[in-house]
């Protein structure tokens, strides 16, 4: 792969085998158990949505790069991940053309308009999801399980759902977000490969849990329902749109957790995960700036 620009950062640098392609491949493999679980619970719809979404994302990316007269880099896998994430975060009944539209807009508005991979301030998959929710609120909130339309667990009172059902995924929801077990499996794999920093999901989920207890809600229910776990592991861990410093990652996770709890508790939206992460994405450059590590030998009083 040809690099068009160099990134300059202070030494020391570590040499390893990581390349964009390698990292992206790890994420794709980590997403597989989620996809398999989704296919088990939702059947063909899961395959249809994820395949269409990925194809749309990849083709749109290639067309955009051609138009911008840039090298076509769709084989780095980043568009594939955007497509898979988006496909997994929509309800199973979503019409095919909507997911194609959503993935294309996610790539155009969420990524290529900002200059492509590395330049985008917002997670493209979440941009796509936000656009779909605003544009087609009704199809985007049609949750079915076994063919019966229900409100998402979040809208019902807690206690109507057994923890093990929430954990394994036999509940209504977006196709990829229901099986906590499969998501954790993918997360552990990414952690093992060094792609996932534990700080992000731990601070995000921890904040939500603590705030839930303080507000008198069921913390386990709050974590397992909705798309929180899926987003905390796969979307908040996006390397481009989240802080690079360890301290910054703690701040990001805590901030997202606070925003999410506020939206869930007092907001009028059914789910706040998308917006909590997007808002923290917007704050990422600021977090990076204020958590920049001290340059060795500078910034401290000589006799202090």
């Amino acid at each position: 792969m040809e690099e068009t620009r160099f990134k300059i950062s202070p030494s020391p640098h570590i040499r390893d085998e990581d390349s964009t392609q390698n990292i992206m491949l790890t994420v794709v493999v980590a997403l597989l158990p989620v996809w398999i679980a989704a296919t088990y619970f939702f059947g063909f719809d899961s395959i249809r949505l994820v395949v269409l979404s990925s194809l749309s994302a990849i083709i749109t990316e290639a067309i955009c790069q051609k138009l911008r007269k840039r090298p076509v880099t769709v084989w780095d896998g980043s568009a594939l991940i955007t497509g898979m994430l988006l496909g997994l975060s929509v309800p199973p009944t979503l019409p095919s053309w909507m997911i194609v539209f959503g993935a294309a807009v996610a790539i155009i508005v969420g990524k290529q308009l900002f200059g492509g991979l590395g330049g985008n301030p917002f997670n493209p998959a979440l941009v796509g999801r936000a656009i779909l929710v605003i544009s087609f609120p009704s199809p985007m909130s049609k949750w079915t399980i076994d063919g019966i339309t229900t409100a998402t667990p979040l809208m019902e009172s807690a206690g109507n759902f057994a923890y093990h059902e929430l954990f394994f995924g036999n509940i209504a929801g977006s196709i990829g977000e229901t099986s906590a077990f499969a998501i954790l499996l993918g997360g552990i794999f990414m952690y093992y490969r060094g792609v996932l920093d534990y700080r992000m999901p731990v601070s995000f989920l921890g904040t939500v849990a603590i705030l839930s207890i303080l507000l008198g809600q069921d913390p386990i229910f709050q974590i397992l329902s909705g798309s929180l776990l899926f987003a905390a592991i796969f979307m908040a861990s996006d390397l481009v749109t989240t802080p690079v410093t360890p301290k910054g990652r703690w701040i990001f996770g805590i901030g997202a957790g606070v925003i999410l709890t506020v939206i869930r508790t007092w907001g009028s939206l059914p789910e706040g995960v998308t917006y909590s992460i997007l808002l923290m994405n917007a704050a990422t450059p600021l977090i990076n700036r204020y958590t920049r590590p001290r340059i060795y030998g500078r910034g401290v009083k000589a006799n202090g």
Binding site: F136, P137, S138, A151, M155, S268, P270
Partner: protein, 197 residues
């Protein structure tokens, strides 16, 4: 003439001319604006009371009003007052009455105006006056297909979601709130109207 004197004079003259022009414009438009406002209030009353062409406001003092209903009523001399809008037809005869009711929906208060027929004492029209439900989902309570389900219901057939009323897919909470708002004070309002008549 000093510079500051000139500034004062010029600004004063400009402001005086402006004030004069605005006074004229205000006078010319005063009547039509008042008429518009009355029309806006009346048109939603006429919407829920077919045949009504004029409105008379009745201040009823019902004995037992649902406690959590504080918006459509006001308290006068420690008495709760329910405002009933009596609809009069072209001959000045009453066709029924309308009243406001509220319930908390998904995004805030849903305020509905309910029209009740004079003779049958059944609902003849429902309209949503104010709401802040999720755009595209909860806002479907405003659609004719949903609202028309309430027509023909009376105090003796309590309205239940799922049996009498089809809830809107994706907006269970909004549909339920609207049903509750209509159920809540129907009996009280009919009773109060009978007494006030």
């Amino acid at each position: 003439m000093g510079e500051s004197t000139r500034m004062i004079i010029v600004l004063t003259v400009i402001c005086m001319i402006s004030a004069g022009v605005l006074a004229w414009a205000y006078n010319v438009t005063y009547e039509p604006i008042l008429a518009n406002r009355a029309r806006a209030l009346h048109s939603s009353i006429f919407q829920v009371l077919p045949g009504a062409e004029d409105v008379r406001v009745i201040e009823a003092r019902p004995t037992s009003l649902a406690e959590d209903d504080e918006y459509s009523t006001k308290t006068v001399d420690s008495d709760q007052v329910l405002l009933l809008y009596q609809g009069l037809n072209a001959n000045g005869k009453s066709v029924g009455f309308a009243y406001l009711s509220e319930e908390t929906g998904y995004g805030g208060i849903i305020q509905v105006l309910i029209g009740v027929d004079e003779n049958t004492e059944k609902i003849v029209g429902v309209t949503v006056v104010e709401h802040s439900e999720t755009a595209g989902i909860g806002t479907k309570i405003e659609e004719e297909g949903f609202k028309s389900q309430f027509i023909g219901k009376g105090v003796n057939d309590p309205i239940t979601i799922g049996i009498d009323i089809d809830s809107i897919t994706g907006s269970t909470v909004s549909s339920e709130a609207m049903t509750k708002a209509i159920n809540k004070n129907l009996g009280v309002a009919i009773q109060a109207y009978r007494e006030a008549k």
